[in-house]
Structures are given as C-alpha cells and as structure tokens.
C-alpha cells in the first residue's frame, strides 16, 4: 500500500509572490514617508496594488478549495489588510505633500 504524497506547503502557489510584493510595497512606502522623498509615494501607491490583487486571488482560491480543508486564508487576509493600509498611507502622504515634498 503506497502512502499518499505529502501536501505542498503552499498549494495555492500565490503565497511567496504575495509576501514578496507586500514587503517591497511596505519598504517603498516607508522610505517615501521621509521628508523630501514624497515623489516615491507615486510608485509606492502603485506597488500596493500587486499584493492587494494577489491577496484577493489567494482568498478566492482558498475559498474554492476549502472543501478539502487544506488551506487557510490568514496570510492572504493579512496581505489584503496590509496593502489597503499601505495604500491609504501612501495616498494620505501624497495629499499632504502634494506629491512632491
């Protein structure tokens, strides 16, 4: 009798790109908060979109495959919440500094 193959750590295949894009977005938004580096918030705000999209895709995939109880939405939920927070911060900084200061 052969044993079933072990389940992969990330059956969705979206976890690593979600984490990487979220870290990159967080780093750019954080550096863009520095005075005189406000222009960085334009790419910072744009970079918040990939983790948001990947997080939503991950949540949908987890929901679709939920019948086998092998997936959990926590990391994708975190990515969606985190990217929304970062986007709000970047937009607020752009409004405060008029996108240049």
């Amino acid at each position: 009798m052969t044993e079933p193959p072990p389940k992969p750590d990330d059956p969705t295949g979206l976890l690593l790109p979600t984490r990487v894009t979220l870290i990159v977005a967080a780093a750019v938004v954080m550096v863009g908060m520095t005075p005189c580096l406000g222009l960085l918030q334009w790419p910072g705000a744009l970079l918040c979109l990939p983790p948001l999209v990947l997080g939503i895709l991950g949540l949908r995939r987890v929901r679709r495959q939920h019948h086998d109880e092998s997936l959990h939405p926590a990391p994708f939920l975190g990515a969606v919440v985190g990217s929304c927070l970062l986007l709000a911060l970047a937009v607020t900084r752009l409004i405060l500094g008029l996108g240049v200061a």
Binding site: D10, R19, S70, L71, H72, A74, P75, G78, G97
Partner: protein
C-alpha cells in the same frame, strides 16, 4: 595648543558625537545604540583626564550612573526578544511588521507635526494639539497594525491545527492570535525603543553638562 590639549579636545568632540549617534542608533533595532551612547561620557571624561582638567565628585558620580543605566538598558535591549516571545509568543513576521509600522508611523508623524505647526497660527493651537494627539495615536497604532499584519502574512497557508485538541483553528482565532502578537510587539518595541532613545538623550545631556562645566 600642545598635543595633550588637542587630543583632549578631540576626545571631548568624539564623545559628544558618540552620544548623539547612540541616540539616533536607538531608533534602529539592529544598531547598538546604548553601548555607543555609553561611550560618549566616557570619552568626554577621558578627554578631560588627558587635558589634566579636574573632575569633581559629581562628575564621577554622573559617569558611574550613566554607565550603570547603560548596562541596564543594554540588558533590556538584549533580552526583550526573549521576553516578547514569552509574553505573546510572537514570531519573526510580527517583529518585522511591527518595526515597519513603527518606522512608518514615526516618519508620518513628522508630516502631521508640520500641519500642526502651520495651522497653529490660524486656529489658536487647536491644529497643533490635534496633530500631536494624532502622532501619539499613530505611534501606538503603527507597530500594532504592522505586527498584526506581519504575523498574519507569516502564517502558513495550509490549515493549522490546535496542538492539544487537534481541531482546526478557525479564522477568528487566528485573527485574535495575530492581534495579540501585534499588541505584544507594539508594547515591546515602544518600551525598548523608548528606553534606548531616552537613555541616549540622557547621555547627550550628561556630555552637555560636562562641557558646560568645563567652559564655565
């Protein structure tokens, strides 16, 4: 000016720079803030000794107190990750997230202060008070939300089971765990960073007192 005086003045300047650098290093978790700040008063006293300047008993007492406080702050800084793990059981994700949150909140509060300073002339300080309150709230919310998001993102996407009962953890339980991790990280980061920065400012004050006493 002879060589001894020149060397003494250089040591005093180095000491003041070291205290300032230690204060700034205190904001970053990787850099050794307290030891660098602790070297400040030591270098200043060494400079006075090289210059054959008399040092009063109060001066030696201040140096001893600064060194003792520096050792305590360094110990707190070294053991805070262990304490944080015991208090909240947090992982590396929460730690990194809380650090990102704290730095972003600190930098963002600079802009809020700017708005407060600009608005204070027109609205009798109300904008200043509001922006200060906003900055304080941000300093708590930033590391807490950052730690929570970091803890959530660092969790595996495969289903998590309770080690005792073997039951599947519901999403609400994971969210509560992450919130607890965020709060623990926030408190730990604020306590350690605050302690390091306050200690750094103390060493700057000690150096300033030494130099002022020397000049007058």
């Amino acid at each position: 000016m002879d060589w001894a005086s020149m060397a003494g003045v250089i040591l005093v300047i180095l000491g003041c720079c070291s205290a300032l650098a230690g204060t700034l290093f205190g904001l970053l978790p990787v850099l050794p803030g307290p030891p660098v700040a602790m070297a400040g008063p030591v270098l200043v006293i060494a400079g006075f000794t090289v210059m054959d300047e008399p040092i009063s008993g109060w001066g030696w007492a201040l140096l001893a107190a600064t060194l003792l406080a520096g050792l305590v702050v360094t110990a707190i800084d070294l053991f805070s990750p262990v304490l944080g793990k015991k208090l909240g059981g947090t992982g590396r994700g929460a730690m990194v997230g809380a650090y990102f949150g704290l730095m972003t909140a600190l930098l963002f509060s600079v802009h809020l202060s700017g708005i407060g300073a600009a608005g204070s002339l027109a609205s009798a300080g109300l904008a200043l008070v509001l922006s200060t309150l906003g900055s304080l709230v941000l300093l708590f919310l930033g590391p807490m939300l950052g730690g929570m998001v970091g803890d959530l993102v660092a969790k595996p996407s495969v289903v998590q089971r309770d080690p005792e009962s073997g039951a599947v953890k519901p999403t609400s339980q994971l969210l509560w765990e992450s919130l607890a991790a965020g709060v623990a990280q926030c408190l730990g980061l604020l306590i350690t960073t605050g302690t390091k920065v306050v200690y750094g400012l103390g060493t700057v004050l000690a150096c300033a007192l030494y130099v002022l006493g020397w000049l007058w």
